[in-house]
Amino acid sequence: MTTKKEKTPLFGPKEKRLLWDPINDNNPVTVQVLGVCSALAVTSLVYKSVVMAIAVIFVVAFSNLITSLVRNYIPSQVRMIAQLVIIATLVTIVELVLKANNYAIWKELSVFIGLIITNCIVMGRLEAFAMSNSPWRSFLDGIGNGLGYGVILIIVGVVRELFGKGTLFAGSPIQLNIIGKSNDLVKYWIDTSGGAMSWYTNNGLLALPVSSLFLIGIIIWVQRSRNKKLVDIS
């Protein structure tokens, strides 16, 4: 191995791809089909999806970073257990911080924050990327994959909350009632008697976790019909 020092830009095209690829072409949820379990469970409200996405981005990014920093010191026999210790520590930190700062949402997400430990995306990135790449790139890869997961979560969350509950960001300080009898926004623009789409009855199916399976299926369908690269991946 030559030790010729090659100057690489801090944020060149390769780094850009690390961030962008998992959001689109190599999305952990829709292409790799990882982390679907929590995507079904926490997407009933947008606010919950956003908090969960931030938690996962933090955990993937920093576990990637830490694992990459110590990758040359980890004995291969205890590789996985060492990665798990790092992930579990970070997840517990997230849980403690959330409990101290936003108790209500911690209560809502309850067990699913702890279950980030078992989220295949995290462990998968450590094994596939962080164990063999530099810390900075691993960190970006972590952010990219967390974002890829988060984007899907938020799309599903928006659809489920909007049509299942008629609101957006319920539970947060900026709750908006969008459709149904008591909407805040549209009634001032379109009609003054009861609000736009006041005839709409909330779709109970969308409040159930099973609806996110359909929604993720539709997202996969749309993505594959637009992006031919993904079709013959097998």
Binding site: Y73, P75, A82, V85, A100, Y103, N202, G204
Partner: protein
């Protein structure tokens, strides 16, 4: 060199110690805030049963204001199922989950009395089973301990959109307001039914959530019954 047993042991010990230190440090740093949040959260849950009798919407109240209400306007007592007041016990410390496992004779039940602009309101705590998991609630009664002036329910795992509506749909707890738990001197409680025939003692159930509605109904009958001896002894 990285594969010797000695190195592996050293590595795992170092990693565990570091992770342990990081976590215990984090725990001590966040514990006071988490404890306070939990206290405020529970107090908000109690206040949500008398939301319409508060001076200000609960959602707009800061944590300090919630704590202030409990300091200034809330009186707490603990009673047993014989109707006696248990001296020295603190209502807030009572866990209904733990009480529900005891024999009826040993139960200790919290009563919060809110002294607000609408006179004294007694808030009692009830606990029961929904379809999937536990459900619980706070029932606010007028000073005569007969008329319901507010209610709030919560659940551990009811289905969103169906059973979870006992908490998420504000019209369900609001439908209890104005009902009475006595018919003359006979205890009737307030039941959740499919079709209301007796509007004084019944409320409409939630469509598609019959079993959760039945759970609420059963909880209302049994939960309030524990308090009856106390109501009887302290009649005004």
């Amino acid at each position: 060199m990285h594969n010797t047993t000695g190195y592996i042991i050293k590595f795992t010990v170092a990693l565990t110690v570091l992770a342990g230190l990081a976590l215990s440090g984090m725990f001590y740093a966040t514990e006071p805030a988490a404890k306070r949040n939990e206290e405020v959260f529970n107090k908000r849950a109690i206040l949500s049963s008398i939301a319409s009798h508060l001076d200000k919407p609960l959602a707009q109240m800061s944590d300090e204001e919630v704590l202030q209400i409990f300091k200034d306007k809330m009186e707490q007592k603990v009673v047993n199922t014989k109707g006696d007041i248990i001296e020295g016990a603190i209502a807030e410390k009572i866990s209904m989950k733990a009480e529900s496992k005891k024999n009826e004779a040993d139960m200790e039940l919290p009563i919060f009395t809110y002294k607000g602009k609408d006179g004294n309101i007694n808030i009692i705590s009830i606990y029961g089973n929904g379809l999937w998991d536990k459900i619980w609630g706070y029932i606010a009664l007028k000073d005569d301990n007969k008329t319901i002036v507010g209610a709030a329910f919560d659940h551990a795992g009811e289905t969103p959109g169906l059973g979870a509506e006992i908490k998420d749909n504000p019209t369900f707890p609001a439908s209890f307001i104005g009902k009475t738990i006595f018919d003359g001197d006979t205890y009737t409680s307030v039941k959740v039914v499919k079709k209301v025939t007796d509007p004084k003692h019944q409320v409409d159930g939630i469509g598609g959530a019959t079993l959760t509605s039945d759970g609420v109904s059963e909880m209302m009958v049994r939960g309030i019954k524990y308090y009856l001896p106390y109501f009887q002894k302290h009649k005004k």
